[in-house]
Each structure stands twice: as C-alpha cells, then as structure tokens.
C-alpha cells in the first residue's frame, strides 16, 4: 500500500505519520508538498495535524486553497481514501469535503492529553478492525476542536452512520464530562457519505506504539490496510 502524507507550510505532525507508516506499518510512504497537483498513484492520502498557514483567519481556511487540495478533492470524489487528523480534519471541513465547522474549545484552553473515544461505526474503511462500541484511548492536541453543524446536517450524519467516533468516559458512556472541547453530540470523528473521507481530532499516529502509552491508534491504520487489501 502506498501512502501520501500531504505537507502544508505549518504542518507539524507529518513526520509522526510518516514514521508510523514507514517503521510501524512497514508500508510505502512519501511526502506530498502542498504545491503538488498530482496525487495519483497513492492508495491513501493523509492530511496531518499542525497549524497550516499559521491557522490565520480560521483553522484550515487558507490550506484548503493550496494547489494540492484541488487534486485531493478530485481524488476523494473518485472514492480515494483520505484521512484528515486534527488540522487535517479542519482543512477537510473548510474544503467542504466533510460537513460542519470547528469552533474554539469551550474551555478556551489548548488541550493536549489522552481521551477516550467510542467507535460508533465499525463498518468503515477506518474502523473495520475494531469492534463496534469499543473505547479507544488516543491523545488530542488542539485549541479548536469544538465540532459544530446545524441540526439538519447532524440528523443526516446520524442517519447515514457517518459519525464514527464520539468522546466518552472509560466505560464508553458519552457524558458531558468526557467531552474535552464542547463538540456537539460528543463528536470526535466523522466520515463522508461514501466513507472514503475520514476526519478526526484525536491523533492515531501518537498512539501507535507501546512506548507512547497506547497502541489503540494502530487499529485505525490497520483498518485502512485491511480495507485496501480486501478491495484488492
């Protein structure tokens, strides 16, 4: 499997993603510079975390107009696998590849810690290696991860099972206390209608090795590889 990790000015998690794909998954991986306009040849594109273009104006608002994003959008329209992590998720929202928008965390704090997320839909390219309802322990690191969408969008997301991850407590209950940023309905990650585009605030690449305190993030990477292999 061949991964492309898209790098914007201000991305800062691209090396972590590259490392996990290269050294842990032992798959092919290349950096894709934001000015590149050809993303054919990749089996999965990763939009990593960071602060693209300094996150001036709004998180992800300027990155979405990078030359590479037109190619990413076309790639996604054709069913290509795209995962946006943290700032990558914000870019996918700003680009309209996923519905909704991000607000500042209700606490106004930048939050960097492990959280628990419950897998709401285990029948996606990103979660097929996980049992539905399982709680994953994965870190977050963001100041604007307060996901919001209008009632109509939320209803549609729910009906089509596009809500993939919700913040929860250790027992899997989606309580207000276990919601770190104020996200509507405790939403931590959503998919596109075709399930090929996935955006999430937690960082699976920071929970893919024992030394980092959790390997739950590996299940996301293993799912996409299993999906790719099953597709043939």
């Amino acid at each position: 499997m061949r991964f492309g990790v898209v790098v914007f000015p201000g991305s800062n998690c691209e090396m972590d993603c590259f490392h996990v794909i290269d050294k842990v998954l032992m798959e092919e991986v290349e950096y894709v510079w934001h000015q590149q306009t050809d993303v054919s040849g990749y089996d999965c594109l990763v939009l990593p975390g960071g602060f693209s273009y300094g996150d001036y104006l709004r998180c992800g608002a300027i990155a979405r107009f990078s030359p590479v994003m037109e190619a990413v959008a076309e790639y996604a329209r054709e069913g290509g696998l795209v995962i946006g992590i943290c700032n990558g998720f914000q870019i996918l929202l700003e680009a309209g590849l996923l519905p909704g928008a991000m607000l500042r965390n209700t606490s106004l704090s930048f939050i960097c810690r492990h959280v628990n997320v419950r897998v709401e839909n285990a029948d996606t390219p990103w979660t097929n290696a996980v049992r539905q309802g399982r709680v994953l322990r994965i870190p977050i690191a963001h100041g604007e991860g307060n996901y919001t969408a209008d009632a109509e969008t939320l209803a549609a997301l729910g009906e089509r099972n596009q809500i993939v991850l919700r913040y929860c407590d250790e027992g899997g209950e989606t309580t207000a206390d276990s919601n770190p940023n104020g996200s509507v309905e405790n939403i931590a990650g959503i998919c596109s209608e075709g399930f090929n585009v996935f955006g999430l605030m937690p960082h699976p690449e920071r929970a893919s090795e024992e030394i980092l305190g959790s390997t739950d993030g590996l299940l996301i990477w293993e799912s996409v590889m299993a999906h790719y292999q099953a597709r043939g």
């Binding site: 709004r58 928008a101 607000l103 965390n105 209700t106 606490s107 104020g182």
Partner: protein
Amino acid sequence: MKVSIYVSPKKGVLDPAGQAALGALRSLGFGEVADVQIGKYIILSLEDGESGQAEARVQEMCERLLANPIIEDYRIEMG
C-alpha cells in the same frame, strides 16, 4: 478604495471567546452587559475600479475565504 468587513459569529452559534469576555465583564461589575460577541474586523485596500463590481467581488471574497458561512455572518462597508 478602503473596504471594511465585519465578521461575527452567527446567531445561535456558541462563541466561547465572547462568553469568556462576558463573564469577565460581569465579574468586573459591568452587570448591564447582556451579551458579548467577538468577531473579526478586516480592512481591504482595493485598486480603483468600478465600485458596483467591487462590492460583488468583496462579497465573493467573504463567501469563499474571509468568513465561514456555516458559523459566521459578515457585513461589508464600502469606502
């Protein structure tokens, strides 16, 4: 030509920064403050051209980049 653009959180959308400022103002004794909204003030300098066309262009700038219509409203003042 100078153009002023005021971007503010849409009504009903949570504004954590505004809520924090509201709490601070009240704790300072300004109990008369009912609500605070914190937005952005953007000033553009445009090359001279047809002003009718300019406003439509600025509106497009707001729709595409300067505001996120899902969570923000904007108001344009030309000149």
